[in-house]
């Protein structure tokens, strides 16, 4: 089965920066004294706390249960004592969290055990285990995975796509995962396909990761999984662009991938699904790239969820000069952090430390109508025109001009010669349109 790869419209190709960490094998972080697990780590309803200060928990024990349909539980990264605290989250505000003081035994909860009969599980059983393991989209969006796997009955799903594009510059976590644990990724993909009852499984990988492509092709040869090498172009890993590249289907404006019969999952999510279904291990650790010119030893690490950034920097061997910006995620869509207390979340694909000369410090200028933002927009929007509408608070017109289709990839702001903060304008526009609807 071969696939004609299509090129999505627009996009940019920023300097990759992946050479810093792409050849570094994944290391496992040692046990720490304290972990800070933020409860609300996903899109949707906040979970309900199950433990209270003073309780003893085991590794993998549920700390908070799902608080609605679109929600996910969180689990303890180690065994130890619980304290409920307010802790700075990556969005810049204090959030409800649980402090775990490790007892050093790192003892697993009784619920965590290998299931030898896992291949006899039905799709519903698998999905239940995924929900209980608190698995969320690990590429960055943190959308609860089991919700994506439970489409309404009128939506017929025929394709599962695993996202191994990793188009964000600097990040190599997915790359290393595919290279070192291809079995987990492919098995996870098959489990996901079983839940959705689909036959077509694709893994999309950008061509700059040729070693990972080879590994996965060998792994997936007899397993009904097709590996698709993709053009190296940001945002290749965006859901709608990936679907177009592999299937040629375009997700209509305002619709979801399930409307064209596709479900997209990150490769990291697939590996976590495999652990959750076969070994009953909840999502308590993930592969994160720690990189940037100011890091002494850039590399890929398996951190437990709840490791504060200060400890992350200690573990990787410190910094060689003062970073000017610390990002959770990649340089295009990552979130800038102001506190080193912020912990690693389930969706933290990278920790990026940039030096002063690498970050843009500029003031914006009037739009010169060169149209470069229109050329690069992967969603075919007119970013410059939209920003002018939003600046003049004409939100009705902005909505009519499809501001809600913006995926905030930042390609427009990347090429803008007038240095306009276009993504912030778009976010303002989207926020106002949503507020007006309420």
């Amino acid at each position: 089965m071969s696939v004609i790869v299509r090129h999505f419209r627009g996009g940019v190709h920023p300097r990759e920066g992946k050479e810093l960490s792409c050849s570094k094998p994944i290391q496992t972080a040692p046990l720490l004294d304290k972990y800070y697990v933020i409860l609300h780590q996903h899109i949707g309803a906040p979970p309900k706390l199950l433990v209270k200060t003073g309780d003893n928990v085991k590794k993998g024990q549920m700390l908070a249960e799902s608080g609605g349909f679109v929600s996910a539980p969180v689990h303890s990264p180690t065994s130890g004592k619980v304290k409920t605290v307010e802790w700075p989250g990556p969005s810049g505000t204090n959030m409800d969290a649980v402090e775990i003081t490790a007892d050093g035994n790192d003892e697993w909860d009784v619920s965590v055990k290998h299931d030898p009969n896992w291949d006899k599980l039905t799709g519903d059983d698998i999905n239940k285990r995924i929900a209980n393991a608190g698995i969320v989209g690990m590429g960055g969006a943190a959308f609860p995975t089991f919700v994506k796997l439970s489409p309404p009955p009128d939506k017929k799903i025929d394709t599962l796509i695993l996202n191994g594009a990793e188009c964000e510059p600097y990040l190599t976590a997915d790359h290393r995962l595919m290279l070192e644990e291809p079995e987990k990724v492919v098995t996870g993909a098959q489990l996901l396909a079983k839940v959705l009852n689909v036959k077509k499984i694709y893994i999309g990988i950008e061509k700059n990761k040729s070693d990972a492509i080879e590994k996965l092709i060998i792994e997936s040869e007899k397993r009904n999984v097709v590996v698709v090498p993709l053009r190296v172009r940001y945002p290749q890993g965006a859901e709608k662009q990936l679907i177009y590249a592999i299937t040629g289907k375009e997700v209509p404006s305002g619709k979801l991938p399930m409307d064209v019969g596709c479900v997209v999952q990150n490769v990291g999510t697939a590996a976590a699904v495999r652990d959750a279904v076969i070994d009953n291990i909840p999502l308590i650790e993930r592969v994160t790239t720690v990189t940037g010119s100011t890091v002494c030893n850039p590399g890929n690490w398996k951190f437990r969820v709840g490791t504060p950034l200060s400890k992350v920097l200690e573990l990787v061997g410190g910094i060689n000069k003062q970073p000017a910006k610390i990002l959770l995620g990649g340089p295009m869509m990552g979130m800038s952090q102001y506190s080193l207390d912020v912990p690693i979340m389930k969706n933290a694909s990278g920790v990026l430390l940039l030096a002063k000369e690498e970050i843009a410090q500029y003031s914006s200028h009037p739009c010169i109508r060169c149209g470069r933002c229109v050329d690069v927009c992967p969603m075919s929007l007119m970013a410059g025109t939209l920003s002018l509408m939003i600046e003049s608070e004409n939100f009705d017109l902005a909505e009519y001009t499809n501001v809600m289709d913006c995926i905030e990839c930042g390609s427009c702001a990347y090429v803008c010669p007038a240095l306009r903060p276009l993504v912030q304008h778009m976010r303002r526009g989207k926020a106002e349109v949503i507020a007006n609807k309420k």
Binding site: Y338, R427, R428
Partner: protein, 269 residues
Amino acid sequence: MFELVVLSVGLVVCMGILLGLGIGITARVFEVKQDPRIELVLDALPGANCGGCGLAGCADLAKAIVAGKQTAAKCPVCTSDGASKISEILGTKTGQNVVKNVAIVLCCGDNVNAKSVVGYNGIKDCKSAILVSSGAKGCKYGCLGFGTCAEACPFDAIEITDDGLAVVHSELCVSCGKCINACPKNLIKLVPETVKVHVFCSSPEKAPVKMKVCKVSCIGCRKCVKNAEKNQMLMKGFLAQVNYDDPPPPELVEASGCPTKCLRRTDDH
């Protein structure tokens, strides 16, 4: 040649007379009768067209007043003089005394007292700035000082100080209320002009949290509550508030000795 000139001049004159007659007759036949009082009421209204009344400008309100659908009290800008003038025109009794309100920004944490914890170089607009971790300020309830309220004010009554704090000039404020919706932090309230003392803090956080990020926040010590008469000052959680129905005298500022000086007079602000 001469005849041609006479002819053309004559033609134009005749046409002018005919068309003029036409216009005159049309104006008589299709005349729209308008109450002359509307014009008078419109003159008595402030004429700022701020939209504070909820209608499309002063002319619309004047029509509504003459039609008896609204009273002059609907206009938040109108002074008691203006209101009594309108009553005179309409021949009604003078309405109840119109209490003048003014807008006030309930925050005194400027860039010196309430520091920013992060560098922000995005759009200089409060509503855009709150999208980035709800503003760069350490206090999540503080004035961001980008002047979105000042831009919204049609009367230039709001000034952004050099230290980045929005301050209302009460003598210019006409309480149209446009700034209230402009502030994403909901710091602006309309209060009676007669009240001269306010708690310039809106943060409901606990004192240790507030003190870390702002030197002039209300720490909930209740000194002002103890020194005021009963019910003049109210406690809302960890935040003291002036009871605007029964306001304390301005002397309370000296009497209470607010340790963070966030209880202050409007004039000293």
